[in-house]
Symmetry: C2
Subunit: 448 residues, 2 copies
Amino acid sequence: MERKVDVLVIGAGPAGIIGAVTARKNYPEKKIVVIKSVANGVIPCGIPYMFASLKDPDENKLGNAALEKNNIDVVVDEATEIDREKKTVTTKTGQKFVYEKLILATGSVPIIPPVDGINKEGVYPVHKDMDYLKKIIENIKGAKNILVLGGGFIGVELADEISKIDGLNVSIVEMLPTLLPNSFDREFSAFAQQALESRGVTVLTGTRVEAISGEDKVEKVQLSNGKDIDVDSILIGIGGTPSTKMASDAGLKLGVGKGILVDEFMRTADPDIFAIGDCAVKRDFYTHKETQVMLASTATAEARIAGANLYSLKVVRENKGTIAIYSTYIDGKVLGSAGLTENAAEKEGFEIVIGDAEGVDKHPGTLPGASKIKIKLIFSKNSGIILGGQVSGGISCGEIINLIGIAIQKRMSCVELETLQMATHPFLTSAPTVYPVVLAAQNASAKR
Amino acid sequence: MERKVDVLVIGAGPAGIIGAVTARKNYPEKKIVVIKSVANGVIPCGIPYMFASLKDPDENKLGNAALEKNNIDVVVDEATEIDREKKTVTTKTGQKFVYEKLILATGSVPIIPPVDGINKEGVYPVHKDMDYLKKIIENIKGAKNILVLGGGFIGVELADEISKIDGLNVSIVEMLPTLLPNSFDREFSAFAQQALESRGVTVLTGTRVEAISGEDKVEKVQLSNGKDIDVDSILIGIGGTPSTKMASDAGLKLGVGKGILVDEFMRTADPDIFAIGDCAVKRDFYTHKETQVMLASTATAEARIAGANLYSLKVVRENKGTIAIYSTYIDGKVLGSAGLTENAAEKEGFEIVIGDAEGVDKHPGTLPGASKIKIKLIFSKNSGIILGGQVSGGISCGEIINLIGIAIQKRMSCVELETLQMATHPFLTSAPTVYPVVLAAQNASAKR
């Protein structure tokens, strides 16, 4: 049984959904089908909050509503093979789809570190699957000593969130010397660590898990610092590997970290096959080197490019490379990062100048609910162009990092940021005289 | 007694302070003096919050700390005359200052409408003077029926704030058909009106005050709708007139609204005299027409330009024109505006296309504290360049409007905004699949 479609999308995470919806907007007359392997998906960035903050994990459901509303068919099945000559995709249950244009949005699978005992009961990788996650959540709530493996965003957010469940001891282990090491310099990582510790989480950086022991179920974990700790549940949050076996089997080239290689318009080497989201290789905004960033917002930006360029190239809808823009929320405090850290910029060989500023997110700072805010901007010393920014503080930092993100995407200079026009209001922002983004730019300018 | 200084600044509002401080940063060796006519100043945007939200009005003090820290002398006196030939400024008490460079930051005075009875006791213009404001606040607290005259930002914020004082009936009168008419289109003005009404404020738009009556003190107000209402206090918040008599007497040319004409570097026709803040004419970012915008954040941006260009021009520190970027906070809800409204763009003759989007500022939207968010973006139809934006919602809108402000200042296109990379987080922003700035840009694109 062959089914003929115009646009076939494999995967229904944020990339797949937005890829399909954008295709629909650009090509109203085409027949579009999405194949998804997980019947009940979840919003990826909401996964940590299914453990405590959301009353019901189902609130974090990623359903088919957007697809159905846009007249896109959904098939629950697992795509297993692409035949590029015949332009067909075959599934596990034997269905066969003939496509004109194929969008691969196959996502990633959690990395399972090669540690002794990692397959014991009670060790849970974080799969983006509602039914699976509901079971884990139930198990965690009955546990006592939880270990979170990995101090990146997912690990830190899981640790913060699980610490809200009564009666649990939570520890987090990160191999590198600081938390969130790819996105923050040392001083901001320290802020994250303090926030977790103030919630009672034990933070173990520069530490590895050497072995996991227990009869069937995990009971103890042996750490690289020589200590053994009692653990009855482990959550693994150390990142993902692109799901690209099918693409590779079909002869599509893979790049760094086994992501599918794509051009500026998200096309693979086969002009009828696009790849977006976690399964596609990213390029760095500044160096254009291949890089790996797994982020729903990057995935949706790519999906909007692919969906618009399927049948003919719209030359301004191109991928300028990832700026790796993140925000997180720990113990009610906010951290944001975009572009290169000081550490990353120096490693890459940039000659840089740093601008720092501190302030308060209301004015006067005595207004109720005011939070301290701290901003660090990294500029190219020679050109004065912004390379990256980090911010910590209260809720408003969630959009301040996006403002810095636009400055990066438009390659603004520190001089432009010094004379930025911004709206300020006592209840909403710092005072215009001391708006921290402006002060940080001034601080950098003075050093050039 | 003549006192020789290098840089003389007249005025110590946000413009004067930042002008002097920026001069200090750029010219560490110069002797800088600031003359201020009001001994105890206030942070202008904080004035409404002195009535109720701040425990003590003194929390909103604008003092001399920033000046003193930067080794800038402060003189409390009123400058009355500029002699451009001799390069001197004389004060009310007869002091005389010889300057190399003069920065006029003389601000504005409240407009008093020519209404019968406007000079009666109980009618209060809003002067930026701590001692004066403290007296008004005491009087208002003892009043019963308050009328706020003017439905711009200051009027709306005063009405919202005074409604927090127990036992007061608050009304607001605006001549034009909607509140905040210069910064918002009808649908956003309606949102502001609902917010005020939900606080119990009576909103009278399209209405004028015809006469104020009472023995010595105001007792009744006659409105253009034919009604007489009982009023025992009136707060006037209908804007200001630039304080430019001294500049005009010295032969400096005035422009629209009697603001001092300046060039891109904030220089008047006299290359040794700069004018910044409320006393200087602004130019519109898009048309470069003269316009009047009285805003502390605009003033500080101008001050940073003037302070850097005093002795030699730094050609990239120039004034691109005002984007009129505002935010306000009414009944806990936030409104922001930047650039041209739909109404203003059409009046100016732009061919435009509108993009609308609605969303929630957390995801899933069931998270505690989530607010609805509404965004409208205005683009040039032909070029796709952003002309303006308006937003309403919760606290995060305070920085979302600044993000839109950067997009305006960098003349971003709707296509660029469609593929924007942004950080998203369940507790901080909309989901990446439905980030409202991106959706509004897409909505506009689909109509081009």
